[in-house]
């Protein structure tokens, strides 16, 4: 669906995007990750044909984003960063204007606007002037605009920035619904967002592509060593520690700081060993009630940091 070939974008001497290549297949929902200034927005802008690349090519469908811009724009619904809107128009006027620009036939326009208003839950402000709408509504108006022509590809640049937690949940679930019949590319610097919505992650840092793969592997493969186990035992801390340390496969037991209640431990196990069953039996045998036993998940933040630090150290080496 989308092919990015060896994309380079320079501003003067600094390379905002540095030899980035990837492909996105129809129906995928891809998260573009990276800290601010990593080159996410620049890459997305080139993909929409808004910015010309310094070198490299982008194809959407079979069209070059540089040469056949108009055809590419027809395939894409784009929500730019900061979601710029015409402040002085009413919501429905704005959408009517955008629908005309996008070539939606006059007859279908009204119905389609109604549909996107409902899908994005902005019907209640449809007669309001955009400048008077809250940030949450504005963001969803931008999203409604991106959806108008029902394009096969949606490119959303930081769609949840500035929203409150409830709106974030709404927007994410909306995007997830959309992914059923759209190819979605969204950029964010919030890792759990990618985890919540995306099937695939692309990580950009200093304009270079650091990771391209499934989100699930991002967690396992790049988190470094396994996270270990978390265990809470309703007993005296020392007795519990002795019991846990005695289990086969357990290498180290650390007590975690808890404000009150029973002691909680972080248990590191030997590589490839699953000590969970042993822990259960040991606690049962010692008569210590086991309140919690879980595998610690490596957070995406940790994975992300580890990727970036690896990158930094390799930079130093080379």
């Amino acid at each position: 669906m989308i092919e990015v070939k060896d994309l380079v974008k320079r501003y003067g001497d600094t390379a905002a995007v540095n030899h980035v290549s990837f492909q996105i297949h129809p129906g995928e929902i891809v998260g573009f990750l990276g800290p601010n200034g990593a080159g996410k927005s620049t890459t997305l802008r080139i993909m929409t044909g808004f910015l010309p690349p310094t070198a490299g090519e982008v194809f959407v469908g079979d069209h070059s984003a540089q040469e056949d811009t108009k055809a590419v724009r027809r395939l894409i619904g784009y929500l730019p960063e900061n979601n710029p809107l015409y402040e002085d128009l009413r919501v429905r006027e704005y959408l009517a204007f955008r629908a005309t620009l996008k070539g939606i036939p006059r007859k279908a326009r009204k119905g389609r606007i109604q549909e996107v208003l409902e899908a994005c839950e902005v019907t209640e402000v449809k007669d309001r002037i955009i400048g008077a709408c809250s940030k949450g509504f504005r963001q969803r108006i931008g999203l409604a605009d991106a959806l108008l022509a029902n394009p096969p590809v949606l490119i959303l640049d930081e769609p949840t920035v500035g929203l409150d937690p409830v709106q974030i949940v709404h927007t994410r679930s909306l995007i997830k619904t959309l992914s059923a019949d759209h190819t979605v590319i969204l950029s964010t610097h919030i890792l759990p967002e990618v985890e919540a919505i995306c099937s695939r992650a692309l990580i950009l840092h200093h304009g270079a592509l650091l990771y391209d793969g499934p989100v699930s592997e991002l967690r396992q493969g790049l988190g470094g060593e396994a996270g270990g186990l978390l265990c809470t035992v309703s007993a005296d801390a020392e007795a519990a520690r002795r019991c846990l340390e005695g289990v086969e496969g357990v290498e180290r037991v650390e007590r975690l700081a808890t404000a009150e209640g029973p002691p909680r431990f972080h248990i590191l196990t030997a590589q490839g060993k699953d000590a969970r069953e042993g822990i259960f039996r040991a606690c049962a045998a010692a008569g210590l009630p086991l309140l919690e036993l879980s595998v610690q998940q490596v957070s995406l933040e940790e994975a992300f940091l580890s990727i970036m630090t690896q990158e930094n150290s390799s930079e130093v080496l080379s």
Binding site: F50, L51, R74, Y78, P84, L89, F97, R98, T100, K102
Partner: protein, 246 residues
Amino acid sequence: MRAVMAIARKELTSYFFAPMAYIVIAAFLLMNGFIFSVILAALSQPGAFSAQPMLLFFGGTTFFWIFMIVMTPVITMKLGAEERKTGTIETLMTAPVSDLEVVLGKYLGAMALYVAAWLPTVLYAWVLTAYSKVDVGPVISGYLGVLLVGLFFIAIGLFTSLVSKNQVVAAMLCFAILLVLILISILTFLVTDPFWKPILQYVDLWSIMQGFAKGVVDSRSVVYCLSGTALFLALGYQAMQTRRWR
């Protein structure tokens, strides 16, 4: 064409949603009405030279040109500059529209406001018919002149707005270009050099407007205004194109 009309309508709607259109039109009509009554009063004086009031009204006074060089940048300054400043240029230019459609749409929208500001002045001519005999021909050609000069000036304003990111800069730039065009009239009056005089006369907007107001539709004047319009529209289009290569 569909996109051009949509953009033109959007621009016109924006004008009327903001207080700007009302301020422009109200100030324009107030000042024009005042000037018109002053012209009438002066011509009604015993011993005043005899002239057609509408002849003075169309470009026959400095006020006409002052309005033109103030009103034009006010109408056009936000057309391109605001889109850049607020970033809406990004949503606009990622919709399936061409640069040319955007330029023409914005131009038409601004022209519509210009025409809307002038339209009520038709009443002045109508009021005159109630009191004296008015020759309709020169009035019509006068309005043709107003339209042609408007086409030219609005094209200049659109161009300056398309190259600026700041509305004030756009307005000042437009103001400066228009001022130079008007000052040529004074220069024409002063210059005696046989080489420069005819050239300056060709582009002397003051006498061009006076020609129209007298009922003379000189094809040279029409060509001058239209080619000026085309030139600045082309420059505006070029400004849109080069934006993409940064």
